[in-house]
Amino acid sequence: MSNRVVNILVPVISVILGLLVGAIVMLVSGYDPIAGYSALWNGIFGDTYAIGETIRQITPYLLAGLSVAFAFRTGLFNIGVEGQLLVGWFAAAYVGIAFDLPMYIHLPFAIIAAALAGAAWAFIPGLLKAKLQVHEVIVTIMMNYIALHTTNALIKIVSDGGDNTGTINASASLKSAFFESITDYSRLHYGIFIALAMVLLMWFILDKTTTGYELKAVGFNKHASEYAGMNVNKNIILSMVISGAFAGLAGAMEALGTFQYANVKGGFTGIGFDGIAVALLGANTPLGVIFGAVLFGSLKYGALNMPNEAGIPVEIVSIVIAIIIFFVACGYVIRYFLEKATKKKEAK
């Protein structure tokens, strides 16, 4: 089998296997898998509203995935996307409420504020890693908790003891009347264009600039890069800052697009953690992240329709979705078997 065929077959087979095993789980627990999957399908593509909401769900996943993937290319494991997203969320919402400016200044201002907040949040672990060799995984995890409770406290201060900042000014909103009209009031917003632009930006930085080359070189081999005369510490910090900026933008999508406010949270949103899976599914490439985000976002959103239309409990739905993603992530195993089969054929 040619490489090309294998490359196409692997994801197809893994999705099919995931669906089959998911179907077995539904059958065993006494639910109709066909009704379940058709509900999933309708939940994703059923009508314009569903499609709009699915894209809405994909938007922050794209950016969270980019964030994790970018740091990964420099050999850094950014688990702090969740925290960077939360500070970005708050920063965007705060700018959206506190200022009253014309749209063409206000909106970019709010978006940049979110990116800067996320970048600043990621700068700390980057700095500690570069200067003191503190492992970024530990620092970023802890920064998540600090972000959660700090933003909660800030929201309380901003809202005078309330739990919600209130709705942002229309001039900072990514809301789209046009999208609303064609998708039957879904929350689809212009943020998807920003997310896609960032995919391009990441590709450009990594593949077309010297900085990107250096970042990747540090990821491949720190010592060799240093020997070649690159400033490893600078690149580590830069990578974390850019990664954090992507995560902050994911927060801006929630603040300026989906929710239009920031509220006190009892726990993490989960988007940052799912971002890790999105990036890894996409092999840390910009194009791969699109694939991962589309898969994650669609399944996550479509799954909401399974209890709604097919009456399958949320718990079973979570298992089925996890199984599908599990099999997709296992693509390597399938590739292995396919290659083995090919080799045997050749041996004959």
Binding site: L20, H149, N164
Partner: protein, 361 residues
């Protein structure tokens, strides 16, 4: 060998293709099957032509507390009126994150339920949005006020019920140290705290109340460590208003009771009668529970709506006088003379002689 493997692979693809194919054409299939289900339920017994549904907050429908009591109210109403679960009857959807509220509410409105409830104050903004977008939908929200003509708001005077819980705790405490474990620090939970503190103070101002907020409604482990710290510091009664986190308070109390049958540890439950939560062998650590009859409120609104009197745009408040809050049967844990004292306070509050503050002074 390879051929067989390849054949297996092919048949797999074929099988999956069939399933996927079914997905594609399923669209109209699904709608017809649900239609037939709907007409079937209408045909049986003297079922009324009324349907209702609710969206839970992230606590889930089996949180043994707030969401669960709302769902039990809906179930009871459904059974009373010969409805079945599903389209045209009664149903619920669970939310797993904040972003799901709008989708879930929208899904239910689109399925033409006559009334859709948002359970919990977290649903405030989503209900507002849906109320604007779907002016024909009839919505209701518990624990928050949404000012829209098609939304009925339900509020509870948690402070009044909590006052009684405070009285009970103060009269029953031997160590004169009482604990309060709250979930998120939000107005609703602060009403619990304010009422509870006031009730304790009314009996004995010298009693110390240890107030702790966990910041979460769904973290039983956190509730357990908080309770552990409180009991270890000499607290003997803990009142929790923390949903699923409060299950950890029960777990800690039960653990202590199991180790030492004479341990003087008690829990006051919240929202539903949580007696079953506190069972340790033959004994029980549940002193009583502060009932918040969300189920009753849900049923009342459903009845009114069914009679064509949907209370949209209004706020109904349930206090002691309306029997919307109160204490659960203590099943012997509280002696009669103390119950009588609690009853006296209850009457005074219901008649307006005592007003319980909503916020902590």
């Amino acid at each position: 060998m390879t051929k067989r493997k390849f054949g297996l692979g092919l048949s797999l693809v074929l099988a999956a293709g069939t399933i996927l194919g079914a997905c594609g054409t399923k669209d109209d299939d699904a709608s017809t099957s649900t239609d037939s289900k709907g007409s079937g339920s209408e045909g049986t017994t003297e079922a009324v032509d009324f349907s209702l549904a609710m969206v839970t907050d992230v606590g889930g429908v089996d949180d043994k507390s707030f969401n669960q009591s709302a769902w039990e109210g809906i179930e009871a109403f459904g059974k009373e009126n010969g409805l079945t679960k599903g389209d045209g009857g009664y149903d619920y959807l669970q939310s797993t994150s904040d972003a799901d509220y709008i989708t879930n509410l929208n899904n239910l409105v689109r399925r033409d339920f006559d009334i859709v409830y948002g359970i919990g104050f977290l649903m405030e903004e989503p209900i507002k949005t849906i109320a604007e977008q779907q002016p024909d939908a009839q919505l209701a929200i518990i624990d928050s006020i949404v000012d829209a003509p098609n939304v009925a708001s339900v509020m509870f005077k948690e402070q009044e019920g909590s006052f009684l819980a405070g009285v009970a705790a103060a009269l029953m405490s031997e160590s004169k140290k009482i604990g309060f474990v709250g979930g998120m620090e939000i107005p609703v939970i602060e009403r619990f705290e304010a009422g509870f503190l006031e009730g304790v103070k009314a009996v004995d101002p010298s009693i110390k109340v240890d107030v702790q907020y966990t910041g979460k409604f769904d973290d039983a482990a956190l509730g357990k460590t908080t309770a552990n710290r409180m009991y270890s510091s000499g607290v003997d009664i803990i009142f929790h208003a923390a949903g699923g986190t409060g299950n950890g308070v029960f777990a800690e109390a039960k653990e202590r009771k199991t180790k030492d049958a004479n341990a003087n540890v008690w829990v006051i439950g919240v929202d539903s009668d949580q007696y079953a939560e506190g069972a340790v062998g033959d004994t029980n650590v549940t002193l009583t529970s502060m009932l918040k009859k969300v189920g009753t409120a849900v049923q009342n609104i459903a009845k009114e709506t069914m009679d064509g009197k949907f209370p949209g745009g209004t706020t109904v408040t349930y206090g002691l006088a309306e029997e919307g809050v109160g204490l659960a049967d203590s099943r012997g844990a509280i002696p009669q003379e103390i119950l009588d004292q609690i009853d006296e306070y209850s009457k005074k509050i219901a008649s307006g002689e005592i007003t319980v503050p909503e916020t902590v002074e």
